[in-house]
């Protein structure tokens, strides 16, 4: 099958800031995004876990965005600007998609 090369940005971000990020993505010119759950982890800020948390504070979420290579920087810069102020990490990887015109 014919496949098209795209970039996948994954943003692991503290949960209280999730809406800020998705609002930003709504303003940016991305075709979509997907929110993934995360249940715990460890980093420079210590250990955390969703277990038993009654609110978003103390938890993280992950947001994945598939973008065309040429739009990568355009998306990455404002996203990173936001993430920089929060607890979070951004990773970028290569993916192939089938309906390339969609992204």
């Amino acid at each position: 099958m014919e496949m098209h090369s795209k970039k996948r940005i994954e943003i692991l971000l503290e949960a209280p800031a999730q809406k800020r990020l998705t609002d930003l993505l709504d303003r940016l010119d991305v075709t979509g995004y997907t929110v993934l759950p995360v249940i715990g982890g460890r980093g420079h800020h210590g250990v955390w876990s969703r277990d038993g948390l009654p609110s978003a504070a103390g938890a993280m979420v992950s947001v994945a965005i598939i973008v065309a290579e040429e739009k990568l920087d355009e998306v990455l810069e404002p996203v990173f600007e936001l993430v920089r102020r929060h607890i979070g990490i951004v990773t970028i990887s290569d993916v192939m998609v089938i309906r390339g015109e969609r992204f």
Partner: protein, 328 residues
């Protein structure tokens, strides 16, 4: 009942003991846990139940002119307590301005679970309380956040202010926070439907209430214990001391208002408890947005790991005793 009896009886209540069990399990590194969805659901239940009950009480007693006054006093306290707290923290600890402001916000706001635990004790003493105190609790959640933000901005003009986020959107977000919406909404529904409504749903929101509170406190104990295990090294002795004496400062401020406001003994105990309690659900989330530079390990551990257990075990009986003295 003497204050010592009250304290002892409170310490031996299932609520306090389940909280202690949670802390102990976390410190033992047990894998005991309440699923996140269940914790959220229990929190929702507690707020719905307490809001609804408050509304029904108001519908029974009718609108009281003191209600507006007490709400005003609550707003004032919620705004003033962080200023006092910030002052104490900066004087006695090495915390920077941003962290100090973030901590202060928690103490100006309130903890609904502490309030709920206090209603149980008040009821255990055979006292009634003004239903509108639920509304007071709701309005006290937010002003503290504004006060803290102003403090932080004055101290560090660049802080607490993202490139695109002003005070407006933040306040909007805080005011439509789920816990406030359910509390206020259930209050209004209780008010509208009154005793007819209560008779329909009391087997759900009244009868099992204390048991569910125990389960929620078990969870809070687990989260607090986990936080203490992780975050204890972030807390200096002066900061831990603050987490214990500052509620007494806030309580005194509130106690001074009890007589002018004309609160009943039960109402006074709850009003003082509101002032003395520190938020650990709504404000931490708001601080991550308003002051992301502040270290969450500090404010969460202090509020949930130090002040909450203090209030739950010793504070509330003390506030109830004080209320009996001044409003009795």
């Amino acid at each position: 009942m003497s204050i010592v009896d009250l304290a002892v009886q409170n310490l031996a209540s299932p609520m306090v003991l389940f909280f202690a069990l949670g802390v102990a399990a976390a410190l033992l590194r047990s894998d005991l846990s309440v699923p996140e969805a269940a914790a959220k659901f229990l929190a929702l239940y507690l707020m719905l139940a307490i809001g609804f009950k408050g509304g029904v009480e108001v519908s029974k007693s009718g609108l009281d002119p003191a209600m507006g006054l007490t709400i005003g006093a609550g707003i004032l306290l919620s705004f003033a307590i962080p200023l006092a707290g910030y002052f104490f923290i900066r004087m006695t600890t090495r915390l920077g301005a941003i962290d100090a402001a973030a901590v202060a916000a928690h103490y100006g706001s309130i903890s609904i679970v502490t309030f709920v635990a206090a209603t149980e004790i008040v009821r255990g003493l055979g006292l009634a309380y003004e239903g509108y105190l639920i509304a007071v609790a709701a309005v006290m959640e937010t002003p503290a956040i504004v006060a803290a933000l102003l403090l932080a901005r004055r101290a560090a003009p660049a802080a607490g202010d993202g490139p695109r986020e002003g005070m407006g959107p933040l306040l909007r977000e805080v005011a439509t926070n789920g816990s406030i919406v359910i509390l206020v909404g259930a209050f209004l529904i209780g008010w509208i439907t009154g005793e007819r409504g209560m008779s329909m749903i009391s087997p759900f929101i009244v009868d099992p209430f204390r048991g569910i509170l125990c389960l929620f406190l078990l969870d809070m104990g687990l989260v607090a214990g986990r936080g203490l295990r992780q975050g204890a090294r972030e807390l200096s002795p002066p900061l831990i001391a603050f987490g214990i004496y500052f509620p007494l400062v806030s309580a005194s401020l509130a106690a001074a208002l009890v007589v002018p406001l004309g609160l009943s003994v039960g109402g006074a105990a709850l009003f003082i408890t509101l002032a003395a309690s520190a938020s650990y659900i709504a404000v931490p989330a708001a601080m991550r947005l308003a002051l992301p530079e502040a270290n969450p390990a500090i404010y969460l551990t202090l509020s949930l790991g130090v002040t909450f257990p203090f209030n739950l075990s010793l504070g509330i009986p003390l506030y109830a005793a004080v209320a009996q003295r001044i409003a009795g």
